[in-house]
């Protein structure tokens, strides 16, 4: 039985066609960039509603338009494939707590996993980190998967008003005002993790201060440029 979303378009509505394709593209980009493996998921808020689209229990690499699901913030099924990701509360609880967030990525990124268990945090040392605070992203310290609303709320509390949170022994959750921004930030977080790891092997690097980070615009100056770039790399793979 499909419940009707209180507002906003239904799953099969033509209005969502473009958003669904963007969601599939975003999943393939994270796979192409080596950030996700068999696991991890991306969600996008259905504009003007308390519902979201994500992938239905499938690797981001294997996501297709037929393998998407629509849920509301209580996890109720609203359409699409019937198997929600086990950790759907990551998306529902963050979107509920952060009305400005349009998209959430959850990955088991090697670099986020690494900085979730080492001392010192993942501190900005490149301008790609301008979306992070000088101390680096907060860390959600509990072990265990985010399979319940209670854990999802604890994760949202750890994220607070940041753009990213590391999940200890697990990975990360990254948010954005658009799907493109959430995907780009997830890639940049992994890039920063690798860079910080390499730099620390040389001794204490010169990190960016709060004031220095503030000199950069918080908004991406050219949001469409990296999206076009990453999409072009996915298309190389899709080409016969």
């Amino acid at each position: 039985m499909i419940s009707t979303p209180c507002n906003g378009p239904a799953f099969d509505s033509g209005e969502l066609k473009e958003l669904k394709q963007k969601l599939v593209d975003g999943c393939h980009i994270l796979d192409r960039e080596g950030i996700t493996d068999g696991f991890g998921h991306v969600s996008v808020r259905v504009p003007g509603s308390e519902t979201f689209l994500t992938i239905a229990g499938v690797s981001p690499r294997c996501a297709t338009l037929e393998r998407l699901i629509m849920l509301d913030f209580d996890g109720r099924y609203l359409g699409g494939e019937k198997s929600p990701p086990y950790e759907w509360p990551i998306h529902a609880c963050i979107m509920r707590a952060r009305p400005e967030v349009m998209s959430v990525c959850h990955t088991h990124s090697k670099w986020s996993s690494l900085f979730s268990v080492v001392k010192g945090g993942l501190r900005p040392l490149h301008m790609y980190a301008k979306f992070l605070p000088a101390a680096g992203p907060p860390i959600y310290p509990a072990s265990g998967l985010i399979g319940t609303v209670e854990r999802g709320q604890a994760l949202a509390a750890a994220l607070k008003d940041s753009a990213a949170v590391l999940l200890r022994a697990h990975g990360d959750a990254v948010v954005g005002a658009s799907l493109e921004q959430a995907i780009l930030r997830t890639i940049q977080l992994a890039f920063l993790g690798e860079l910080a790891h390499m730099a620390v092997a040389h001794g204490e690097p010169l990190y960016m201060s709060e004031e220095e980070l503030a000199t950069f615009s918080a908004e991406p100056a050219f949001p469409a440029r990296p999206w076009e770039y990453y999409l072009s790399r996915v298309r190389e793979r899709r080409a016969p």
Binding site: D37, G57, L114, A169, H197, V200
Partner: protein, 199 residues
């Protein structure tokens, strides 16, 4: 090499016949019994068939075994520090990580195979000093996923240790996770999709 004993006579298993896993085909498989006797298929048994025969004999719960020379298992087989779970991908391991089989030399005799099985004990994996690893599971899918995850954990442990002692998962925390794979086919579908690129 990976071996599996489903759908074969009791006390027998199928493995690859002395060929790289990268070059294996259906025509290059062999069936042997636990004493190494040839039963069917291609005629050249792998040098280290006792790895499979002796573990299968000792562990009736095991349906599949992989043996690799994984870079990350090898490095932790020779370091004083252990490969321990610091990510939930290591939930199939104990908090103090896999044991190490200390014997040097290939496992070409039943005596050595028995020693290896003893080092493995009831665990899911054993590192083999200066050699690699042996990983067991209740299905081929589980063994393949465990083997890839053991390698990921080895790499991640290596990276983390360059920053000092990482925060490992405790035995109590590991219990929070379901020991069984929640979605065994999701990882398998992902890995198979990567093979299709190559094929």
């Amino acid at each position: 090499m990976a071996a599996d004993r489903k759908n074969v006579p009791a006390d027998a298993f199928i493995t690859i016949s002395n060929v790289s896993p990268g070059c294996v085909t259906i025509d290059r498989l062999i069936m042997q019994d636990f004493d190494g006797n040839y039963l069917d298929g291609a005629k050249t048994p792998p040098n280290e068939w006792p790895i499979h025969a002796c573990i299968f004999k000792a562990r009736p719960d095991v349906e599949s075994i992989s043996h690799t020379h994984s870079k990350w298992s090898t490095i932790f087989s020779v370091l004083p520090i252990k490969l321990k779970p610091m990510h939930h991908y290591g939930k199939f391991l104990s908090a103090d990580g896999p044991p190490v089989y200390e014997g040097i030399g290939l496992v070409r005799t039943v005596e050595r195979g028995n020693d290896l099985a003893k080092a493995l004990g009831n665990g899911p994996a054993v590192l083999m000093r200066a050699h690699g690893d042996a990983v067991v599971g209740a299905s081929i899918e589980q063994v393949i996923e465990r083997t890839t995850r053991l390698a990921m954990l080895g790499e991640w442990n290596h990276l983390a240790l360059l920053h000092g002692e990482p925060r490992y998962l405790t035995a109590q925390e590991l219990e929070v996770y379901n020991a069984d794979q929640r979605f065994p086919m999701r990882g398998w579908e992902y890995y198979v999709s990567r093979l299709k690129d190559r094929r």
